[in-house]
């Protein structure tokens, strides 16, 4: 019998080949599912320097816990909270431990408290005694409805980084810059529009504005989670800040991007920068040619004898409910966050001051740093750390940060157009409107 294959394939060979290929591919995928990680625990972090430090600390942890394999995963900053949220929602691929930025953490505490994806760490903090050793104000952002969902990675006090060589060439003594009035006076002399600015200030976002707001004792929320972004302190700070960052007589400028900060610092476009501890490491990496020409000083105060620091940024480590062994996950947290030797090693890697006061006396924190003109970087930050203002938060903190940024930008635009005339009224109106918008979001939350 001489039958050709095509007689049995009325749609031709090509569709049949496609169908068979599809079926084979499906069978292959079914019998070869995505490999599950062989690690016992997984920790997500969004900061590269944290990641490198934890990778270095992992062998010691694994040696202390035989049979355990700890996997550290670096997830991009923007992605970590989105992926974590999706993972919580889908109950899939949830890491055992995760670091979340201070400005995003509280958004995970929205909803019924029992549905929060993190475990309450209060019992662990109490039984280990660490709760008393950690700077109390740094636990505040991670406390919600009587539970503590994260332990702080840092304190993040803010100092002023300055080009020491420019200061010396211009005959400026940093110890004489006691108040912002002193600073502004010098800034007017040093600033050359379009060529050189006394300080990096962004009039389109609230990043730097918030530093001043917190230094003054203000904030976006109070300790009870009530919105305070339209307080008198906020208004006064806004009216003070706007002419410094916008308009023809400004002493601050921003490139609106971190992409070419290296060039801006090397060319002296910015003479000073608001510099939380984490930023010192970034400068060391991104602007290496400035070694020995940079130095740090406390922030000038708003009034003589006033607070000489502020706060910017922060990270919490949380243990998710998905973890199979909560005690083992806590052991990771203890090892990475609360072990003195690890903290000393970590500080050399990251320049980030840990929230454990007793660690600040370790030799690593007293070492002179060549990049910073041989200043003892750790000690400088530790000296102001106890004065670091609290950073209170709410599940709606991202909305508040965004709204405050809009107010800052609007005031900048207004000032460029109209100058001082009516600025206070405009700022008050915009602050009030922004706060009302945030409150409307808060009020519609039924949880």
């Amino acid at each position: 019998m001489n039958r050709s294959l095509s007689e049995y394939l009325p749609f031709g060979k090509a569709p049949t080949v496609i169908l068979i290929t599809t079926l084979l591919a499906t069978v292959y995928l079914v019998v070869n599912p995505v490999a599950t990680p062989d690690s016992t625990l997984r920790l997500w972090t969004f900061a590269r320097n944290h990641y490198l430090a934890y990778v270095e600390g992992t062998p010691a942890f694994e040696a202390a816990h035989p049979g355990t394999r700890l996997e550290i995963q670096l997830v991009h900053g923007d992605a970590v909270s989105r992926r974590l949220r999706a993972a919580f929602w889908a109950d899939l691929d949830v890491p055992d431990l995760v670091e979340v930025g201070i400005d995003r953490a509280a958004s995970f505490f929205r909803g019924p408290v029992d549905d929060v994806g993190f475990i309450d760490l209060t019992p662990y903090l109490e039984s280990s005694g660490f709760g008393e050793r950690i700077v109390e104000t740094r636990l505040a952002p991670y406390r919600n409805r009587g539970r503590i969902f994260g332990i702080p990675h840092d304190v993040h006090p803010v100092m002023l980084a300055y080009r020491r060589d420019i200061f010396e060439a211009e005959g400026i003594d940093p110890t004489q810059l006691q108040t912002w009035d002193d600073f502004i006076e010098v800034g007017r002399r040093l600033t050359v529009p379009g060529q050189r600015y006394m300080i990096e200030l962004n009039d389109a976002k609230a990043d730097e504005f918030n530093v001043f707001l917190y230094q003054r004792g203000g904030g976006l929320f109070d300790a009870d989670g009530n919105l305070t972004m339209d307080s008198d302190i906020a208004l006064e700070t806004l009216v003070w800040f706007t002419p410094l960052a916008a308009g023809p007589t400004r002493i601050g400028a921003s490139l609106g991007s971190t992409k070419i900060l290296t060039q801006a610092i090397e060319t002296g476009y910015f003479v000073t920068l608001l510099c939380p501890d984490w930023r010192t490491k970034l400068l060391e990496i991104d602007v290496p040619r400035m070694e020995g020409r940079m130095a740090l000083m406390p922030l000038p105060a708003f009034e003589p004898g006033g607070r000489r620091t502020s706060v910017r940024g922060g990270t919490m480590l949380g243990i998710t409910k998905a973890t199979a062994d909560k005690d083992l996950a806590w052991a990771v947290a203890e090892h990475m966050y609360l072990d003195s030797e690890e903290l000393a090693a970590r500080f050399r890697e990251t320049n980030i001051l840990p929230p454990l006061r007793d660690a600040w006396l370790l030799p690593a924190f007293l070492e002179p740093r060549p990049y910073w003109s041989n200043q003892p970087l750790g000690k400088l930050y530790a000296d102001v750390a106890d004065d670091t203002p609290p950073w209170y938060t709410s599940p709606f903190v991202e909305k508040a940060v965004e709204k405050m940024g809009q107010v800052v930008a609007a005031c900048g635009a207004y000032y460029r157009e109209n100058g001082d005339a009516g600025l206070r009224d405009f700022a008050r109106t915009r602050l009030g409107a922004a706060a009302d918008e945030v409150r409307r979001h808060v009020e519609r939350n039924p949880f």
Binding site: Y8, D78, R110, G111, D115, N202, A204, I260, E398, A410
Partner: protein, 304 residues
């Protein structure tokens, strides 16, 4: 059973079921990944949510809140401006370029066609990163050129001033999409019968009359398609501002688009119910605008 009967039975069986087998993968994927989420999102739009476990039914409250939210108004305002620029600025430029590159006497036509189309080969994110560097104050290429030519302040903040953000976005999208739409128009122009132009010449028609009475009717179906597609694309704008404004809506929400507003509420505030309501409002809006556009351009008329 004889061999002939067997062959016939197999053939009949295949003929009957093969279409279903071929269509099945698409239908399955469509139901699981399109229809089910679509229906689910419509249901979700009536809830305030905090993840799938925490949901509270609120009826039409999400839609009421949405319509009263100043941020939504800003998002609509920005998106409409962007969409208008797409239709009234981008498409005429695309058509102009297409007509230029359709000239037989132009040398190096293929080179120019490739050149104008090439921004599309790299994708929105790449373009956004590229332009965010070009727009940097003081050190960016654009400011340096403008400062040298027109003495515009070298530290002009294109992405940091509320009034300049939208022009910057439009400029970027022009660079990216003018060449892309040009290809459609070019294809349409090449389908117009040359004899029509010759006849118009014989009748003594001016270039403008030829454009109006020969070119425009000739490219009308493609033009309507491009207009509708550009409008829908503009209303879905997200990647460009998201990357160029570093995951924010820009100074004073100047770069906030409807999709970005949806993203913020769904993924930053974590309320998928409200985000679904925004999505459905967007769908409705785009649907209505497309219908209006097609009505205005005469797409509903059937040729006699």
């Amino acid at each position: 059973m004889r061999a002939g009967e067997l062959k016939s039975a197999v053939f009949r069986l295949q003929h009957r079921y093969a279409p279903y087998v071929f269509v099945a993968p698409f239908v399955l994927v469509f139901f699981i990944f399109m229809l089910y989420p679509l229906v689910n999102s419509l249901i979700l739009a009536f809830y305030v949510t905090s993840g799938p476990k925490s949901q509270v039914f609120v009826g039409f409250a999400n839609f009421v809140f949405l319509l009263q939210d100043p941020d939504f108004h800003t998002a609509i305002h920005n998106t409409v401006i962007y969409a208008s620029c797409s239709v009234f600025l981008q498409l005429p430029l695309s058509l102009g370029l297409a007509m230029l590159l359709n000239q037989a006497r132009l040398r190096g036509r293929n080179f120019f066609r490739l050149g104008f189309f090439s921004p599309n080969l790299v994708g929105q994110v790449f373009v956004a990163v590229l332009f965010s560097v070009i727009f940097i104050p003081k050190f960016g290429l654009l400011n340096r050129v403008l400062h040298a030519l027109f003495e515009i302040p070298i530290d002009t903040k294109w992405l940091g001033s509320p009034e300049l953000v939208m022009p910057a976005l439009v400029l970027t999208s022009l660079w990216m999409y003018v060449g892309f739409n040009m290809i459609y128009f070019l294809a349409a122009l090449q389908t117009i019968d040359v004899q029509l132009y010759e006849a118009a010449d014989v009748d003594g028609a001016s270039p403008w009359q030829k454009f109006l009475h020969v070119t425009v009717p000739g490219i009308r179906p493609v033009a309507v398609f491009v207009i509708v597609l550009s409008t829908i694309g503009s209303f879905q704008l997200f990647e460009l501002p998201y990357v160029m404004l570093e995951s924010t809506a820009g100074p004073d929400n100047a770069g906030l688009t409807i999709v970005m507003y949806l993203y913020q509420n769904g993924w930053i505030l974590g309320d998928l119910g409200f985000a679904s309501a925004i999505g459905w409002m967007l769908t409705l809006g785009v649907f209505v605008i497309s219908l209006v556009q097609m009505g205005l351009t005469g797409s509903w008329k059937t040729d006699a």
